[in-house]
Amino acid sequence: MESRILKPILAVYVALFILFLYGPFVVLTILSFQQGPEGGPQFPIVEWSTYWYRHIFGLTEASRVAPLPIGTSMVRSLTLAFMTMVTSTVLGVMSAQAFRNKFKGSDFVFYLIVLGMITPGLLTGLGVALVSRNIFNVDRHWWSTAFVSHVVYTFPFAFLVMLAILNRFDASVEEASWSLGVSPIRTFRKVTFPLVFPGVLSSMLFAFTLSYDEFSRTLLSSNEQTLPLAIYGTFAVEIHPNLFAFGVLTTLFSFSLLAVYAILMALSVRRAKKVAIQEEIA
């Protein structure tokens, strides 16, 4: 049987593939523990140290390596990601709700929304910059022009996630609640929302992480630096292991977001199960 030979070969291949995906990051992590401030961004490790991590937080003595310019830009990025998250989730829930009934022009609207996630960021950024400069004559800021172009990107994700959730959603549960005389607001809180909560949570996670990390849209549509722009600015000059240390920290931050998401998701699944069991008993 050929698959007896093929399967182990493919298994080894997949292991190598995963090495290819993770290798660079592992190397970057190792080098982030380089000795400082003389140790460079390459092997060998002169001496293991946490110098570059302390360097990021300004806990080291001044040296020829300038600290990463991330203070203000990080506050901007987090605020922007939060604004983007709220807006695109609201838009996503509303639009997906509209799609529960087929309406005239729904095909067109579907493609219009999806266009936002496949248009390259550079073009969205360029277009938004041109409109703001040459039509409205307004300055570009992270909270205005960059914000709207981030939502153009994240709203389609929220929309698709909510669409998938609502497609599986049985509308008769809501109708049952209404016909039992429960007010629409209470129905939404007690019936609809718990059912769509996993979708809302996923949309929020997508929107936040995508916006927090968004680079090409922001580059042309914001005058001020957000975190990715600040990081990109340091690429042009000589790089130091402090960038690596920062990479490790920002990855840890993304993973902790993912962990919060997983915990909330698990809690909501457990609650759903509990309700199901109660129903069975009743």
Binding site: F43, L91, N101, V109, G116, L122, L123, F255
Partner: protein, 287 residues
């Protein structure tokens, strides 16, 4: 439920209106604006709405820009092929060979996790990997495969291709594995019983059935690679200039009209590429 169709349709439009408005104002109009501005008149520091073909002539009359057009197309084709060739076997294993649902989910998650980390950091991570004193050269020298470090690894077109392949591979693996996972194992079983070898089964059944996944993956990868500029500038030492890099540098020197011309050309290329892919497979029917 006898809800008049008109009422439900107008409720739907109320719900959808903000989204449609947002996309029209901040996506459709901006893109139309790029097309419009590409015909504006460029003076040293500003642009004026007097229509002219000057910027288009400037683009097509310059070797620098035409070279970058060709570089973009070449790198796109190479990266597309590389992600397919490297990603397909992985998808094959994850989607078809792994029998346990849990294991295949875990493997997919492992592939997706890097996507969760910062894009720029992933690009940057290739520097200590590919450099003259980088990890790959150290390993190669340690095993005596090469005597002198290979300098061609970093700050060349090759490094851009390696970086992009790693970053975008996931978008190929996911859709293909998804389509492979939907293949009914009985079909493969039946053809095996009828005496077909693996290669024949692959050619006649597995690959054709995975084609919609390949097309979706190819569209993702193409659109992202064609609109790229950061990987090129960070890993090629500014030697590789993609159309995206031209846009950024032109905007940097306030040449908005020329940047717009490049933007329109990029949009046209992407439109052609996507519609060609969609011609291969009727996605709406297949998915």
């Amino acid at each position: 439920m006898a809800v008049p169709a008109k009422t439900s349709s107008s409720t739907a439009w109320l719900l959808i209106a903000p989204g449609v408005l947002w996309m029209t104002l901040f996506l459709v109009i901006p893109i139309a604006m790029i097309v419009y501005v590409s015909f504006w008149t460029q003076t040293t520091f500003k642009i004026e709405p007097t229509l002219t073909l000057a910027s288009w002539q400037q683009f097509f009359g310059s070797d620098t820009y035409l070279t970058s057009l060709w570089t973009t197309v070449r790198i796109w084709l190479i990266v597309l092929a590389a992600t397919l060739v490297i990603g397909y076997p992985t998808a094959l294993y994850v989607g078809l060979f792994v029998k346990s649902k849990t294991l295949s989910t875990i493997l997919l998650v492992v592939c997706v996790i890097p996507f969760w980390t910062s894009f720029l950091i992933r690009v940057l991570a290739w520097r200590p990997m590919l450099g003259k004193e980088g990890a790959i050269n150290i390993v190669l020298q340690y095993f005596g495969i090469v005597d002198h470090p290979i300098e061609a690894l970093l700050f060349t077109e090759l490094s851009v291709i390696i970086g992009m392949t790693q970053i975008y591979c996931v978008f190929m693996v996911g859709p293909i594995a998804f389509m492979l996972g939907r293949i009914d194992p009985n079909i493969i079983e039946a053809s095996r019983d009828l005496g077909a070898g693996f290669w024949r089964i692959f050619r006649k059944i597995i690959f054709p059935l995975s084609l919609p996944g390949v097309v979706v993956g190819a569209i993702f990868v193409s659109v992202m690679v064609l609109g790229e500029f950061a990987t090129a500038s960070a890993l090629s030492g500014r030697k590789v200039n993609l159309l995206g890099n031209i846009i950024v540098t032109q905007v940097g020197s306030l040449k908005w009209a020329l940047a717009s011309v490049v933007g329109v050309i990029l949009t046209i290329i992407m439109g052609i590429v996507v519609s060609l892919f969609l011609r291969v497979v009727d996605l709406r029917r297949e998915l």
